[in-house]
């Protein structure tokens, strides 16, 4: 007996696929294969809100999570051919059966905005704030799109692939500034040396 794909799961996947196919037919979904069996579709950014509303009306009441994936490859600094950089993922589920569906949207880096779903599920508020904080994806219509986990005024989006794991500031930025300051010519007077990045302007 498979521990992951029990009869309940398999029945849930089949039922969910049938239900979601019917509800999403108007939105031209592109099915995506997943290894957990949950039916997963990519829809266009313009229709993602209506698609989720249709799914919600069709029985998928439980919002599981909203997150994003940055598909930039660190090795070559490029996005996979033909794909947009960000993939915004919503997973919603039916309350009392094992049916779930994943709705994904592709967003380019230049235009990383998406419609909010806080009108359907107010609980999406923190989820979207976290996506904004970590990736920089903005949500149109969000009541309070501010940073959630990093301090207000933090200038970077940490989960983007080009952001280094050890961070940029404060200590690393200070260390780099300190090294540059030490490496400078000691005959140059202190006023003309590189200003501290932390100075109030």
């Amino acid at each position: 007996m498979s521990s992951h794909h029990t009869p309940a799961h398999v029945a849930g996947h089949t039922a969910s696929k049938a239900r979601a196919d019917g509800l999403l037919a108007a939105f031209e979904p592109r099915p995506v294969a997943t290894r957990c069996g949950t039916p997963s579709y990519v829809v266009a950014r313009e229709v993602v809100h209506d698609a989720l509303a249709a799914l919600r009306a069709g029985g998928y009441e439980v919002l599981s999570f909203i997150t994003a994936v940055d598909r930039l490859s660190i090795a070559d600094g490029r996005v996979p051919q033909g794909r947009a950089r960000f993939l915004l993922v919503h997973q919603i589920e039916v309350l009392d059966t094992a049916e779930a569906v994943r709705v994904e949207t592709e967003l380019t880096e230049a235009d990383a905005t998406a419609p909010t779903v806080t009108d359907l599920w107010p609980g999406a508020s923190f989820m979207e704030r976290e996506v904004y904080d970590m990736f920089g994806i903005r949500f149109d219509g969000h009541p309070n799109l501010t940073r959630l986990l990093m301090p207000d005024g933090y200038g970077h989006h940490p989960l983007r692939k080009e952001f280094p794991h050890q961070g940029i500031e404060p200590d690393r930025l200070y260390r780099e500034w300190d090294e540059r300051r030490r490496a400078q010519d000691p005959s140059v007077p202190p006023e003309e040396q590189a200003p501290s990045p932390f100075q109030r302007r």
Partner: protein, 417 residues
């Protein structure tokens, strides 16, 4: 400007002076801005709440999180699949083995490997013991926040017994990191199973002891009844899961709805509340502790019948080889090295959720076949429990805030990740 009429839930206790009906008027207004935290004995970790108080009545509660954000999702991308296990312990640090299992299940979905039956039984046993430990923390800290100090010591005494068990089994009191992709790191031996048995035999009497203190207690009723009521619609709209959802009458437990690790073969019930107040959530958690004891005893019985079976799968691509062979064979040593440093899960995405003590704890893992994970998103239920604080606190007295925070039961390691 906002007036008292705009806050329908405010209970008018006495006549306010004329001119003070404008709540946020800077000259005559009555709202006081209070900052609770991030260091506070009763916020269950580093949570900051910004509360506007009208006397003792709360309005506009804004939770500020992120004071424990350690960058775990980024860390997974840097470290790799195998080395991330200790980080999963420290998510919801009162139930480390549950977090480990959730992550291992998501990775096993990606890898497509099967955990042997005895491994699943050990996982169930460890998960239920962790659930009991987490609910004991809930009970102890909520009780001490509301003034019942002796419950704190009683629950920590039981928690010390669990620590002794886990110390005997895994060598660590907490943050055990004893689950691996493919199963469990080591088997539960006869002597350790005996210890588990003794603990589980005396534990229902301990729960009875807590209930004697609290369930019929007039003060507990006054502090918790009709406080923090979540309606069914609100609970679903605000993405609440776990006892917060079940307290409102929604019967959704992932162990029954989407079972994993063999839960469909165990005999247990899921307690569901009626009103959705803090008292209902308390009763739900007490009953869950009893049901966890029941499941754990069934798991122990199965351990007795499956002696000698494997607890971890055999798949050298993803699973660590047995340690004794690692020490004697070159190939096994290389497999061990590769699994630890260079584990490659197949390309694809997977999401697996377990029923943790706080709700739906899930890991959404995306791999591109290389040794660096593309994404590991942690769906921590605590974040959405915190999100519900303004909903429950609006218009209530400030002293209800501690009952609300305690009954929502979040742990900041999982909220902030």
């Amino acid at each position: 400007m906002t007036t008292r009429a705009d806050h329908p839930k405010t209970r008018q206790v006495f006549e306010y002076a004329p001119g003070s009906e404008y709540l946020d008027d800077p000259v005559q207004g009555e709202l006081m801005h209070l900052n609770v935290g991030p260091q506070h004995p009763a916020t269950h970790g580093v949570l900051r709440l910004e509360v506007d108080l009208d006397g003792e009545t709360m309005h506009n509660v804004v939770p500020v999180v992120g004071y424990l954000h350690r960058g775990k999702e980024k860390t997974c991308e840097t470290l790799g699949w195998h080395k991330f296990f200790p980080h999963t312990d420290r998510l919801d640090y009162v139930q480390p083995l549950l977090n480990n299992t959730a992550y291992a299940l998501a990775c096993e979905e990606l890898a497509g490997i099967e955990v042997p039956e005895r491994g699943q039984v050990v996982r169930v046993l460890l998960m239920e013991i962790s659930r009991i430990a987490a609910h004991l923390i809930y009970l102890g800290t909520t009780a001490i926040d509301l003034g019942a100090v002796s419950i704190f010591f009683a629950t920590f005494k039981e928690r010390e017994k669990i620590y002794t068990l886990l110390d005997a089994y895994s060598g660590h009191r907490m943050n055990n990191t004893y689950i691996r992709i493919g199963g469990v790191f080591a088997d539960v031996e006869e002597s350790v199973a005996q210890l588990f048995d003794e603990f589980l035999d005396q534990f229902p009497a301990a729960i009875d002891g807590f209930e004697t203190f609290l369930t019929g207690n007039r003060i507990w009723h006054d502090r918790n009844r009709d406080v923090g009521v979540i309606t069914r619609e609100d609970a679903l709209a605000w993405a609440l899961t776990g006892p917060n959802l079940r307290g409102s009458g929604v019967e959704r437990d992932l162990r029954k709805v989407r079972p994993y690790s063999g839960y469909e073969t165990y005999d247990f019930e899921v307690p569901v509340g009626t009103v959705g107040d803090c008292y209902d959530r308390y009763l739900v958690r007490i009953e869950e502790m009893r049901q966890s004891t029941r499941i754990a005893k069934q798991a122990l019985a199965r351990l007795a019948t499956t002696k000698g079976a494997d607890v971890i799968a055999e798949d050298r691509r993803y699973v660590l080889p047995p340690k004794d062979r690692v020490h004697s064979s070159m190939e096994e040593l290389i497999y061990q090295f590769k699994v630890v440093t260079d584990l490659r899960l197949p390309k694809g995405e997977a999401y697996h959720a377990v029923e943790s003590s706080k709700g739906e704890l899930g890991f959404y893992v995306v791999s591109d076949g290389s040794s660096n994970p593309v994404r590991c998103h942690i769906r921590g239920p605590g974040l959405y429990n915190v999100q519900a604080i303004p909903l429950l606190a609006e218009g209530r007295l400030f002293s209800d805030m501690m009952a609300i925070i305690g009954s929502l039961d979040f742990v900041m390691g999982e909220v902030d990740r």
